[in-house]
Symmetry: C2
Subunit: 204 residues, 2 copies
């Protein structure tokens, strides 16, 4: 299996499978593509096809062992280990990110946060003390951080992203309403409600 | 052209094209698939192919007229009109949503917000007074709202979503880290950083 050859659209569905399996595990030990499909709004055939890209997870008639499938998906997604994250921008959204307990529960630790506002620098949110953005590069190097979340205004996002890449960041989750233009080997995901809303209204 | 027959993966890229075109318009009047592709990290061929689903927008050699393409994309995405939105859940994230000026700029008005916390109900954020979630159904009906944003805890999301659909909501943008199981005609998008992070780590 060569991970890079599997279409990204399939990869994007794997975290959703994982989430639903974690929920199912609370009450049962096995599931099947029909049940997963109903919960997720996908067809059973699609789920079987997606998972088959990565091997054999279920048996005809007996379905999937939930624990085994969760472990496998975590291994495939590289979420069987912990990841440190740098947060850039600690405005209202950044503060909500720092206070959100869900990241840590899934192995993502916001290791450091930076801002350029003197009133925010030094403040503590959920045990993370905000540092000066001017120290960003050293923080990344010292902590060998590979992932950054960017919650800065749109007009600052490209500049910050370039600095992050220069400092060694490999992947960015951007909350800024701006498209980032970065080297192709840098992985960028957007958490952008406007894009989602404009996607929604297409169908209304 | 039958909009529903065009793959959703293509539809999902259109808002990104629109965003980049709005940025380009600040400095120029025409562009081409090569330039758009470089800015967006897609191939020029993909952009030509995506746009060709909806007609002829450019001429060989002269490229695209930016204004015309923006107008066309707004018409295709139904963002050439304004949309009212109901926000459910006014915790820290919900407050950030209410205070974010970007929605209105693009024709999305958070018309009403509801919460179940007596300390939050009655508070005003960015000219929107938070109402009691118990009045949710009437608010939707009276204002004929079709789109809801859900920023409630994961364990409440499914229940709230079902109530929203019952009250007439046609599309949901969910910030809750939970998969919603709803009738297939209801359009659901997720703004879910954990899913994005787990998508990112696949490639690291």
């Amino acid at each position: 299996m060569i991970k890079e050859q599997i279409p990204d659209i399939i990869v994007g569905r794997l975290p959703r499978y994982l989430r639903t399996l974690l929920l199912l595990r609370e009450t049962k030990t096995t599931t099947n593509s029909k049940e997963l499909g109903e919960l997720l709004g996908f067809s059973a055939a699609q789920i079987r096809k997606d998972l088959s890209q990565y091997g054999e997870f279920g048996k005809q008639g007996t379905g999937y062992n939930i624990d085994y499938l969760i472990d496998s998906l975590n291994r495939i997604l590289n979420t069987d280990k912990n990841w440190d994250i740098l947060l850039v921008g600690v405005g209202q959204l950044g503060q909500a990110i720092l206070n959100y307990p869900g990241f840590l529960k899934h192995g993502f630790l916001v290791k450091a946060a930076v801002d350029n506002n003197p009133e925010i620098i030094g403040q503590k949110f959920n045990s993370c003390v905000v540092q000066d953005v001017r120290n960003m590069k050293e923080i990344i190097t010292e902590n060998q951080i590979q992932i950054a979340m960017v919650a800065v205004p749109a007009e600052k996002a490209q500049e910050i992203a370039e600095e992050l890449v220069e400092a060694g960041i490999k992947a960015i989750l951007s909350y800024a309403p701006a498209t980032l233009t970065l080297p192709s080997q840098i992985r960028v995901e957007y958490s952008d409600p406007l894009i989602s809303l404009q996607h929604i209204t297409y169908y209304l």
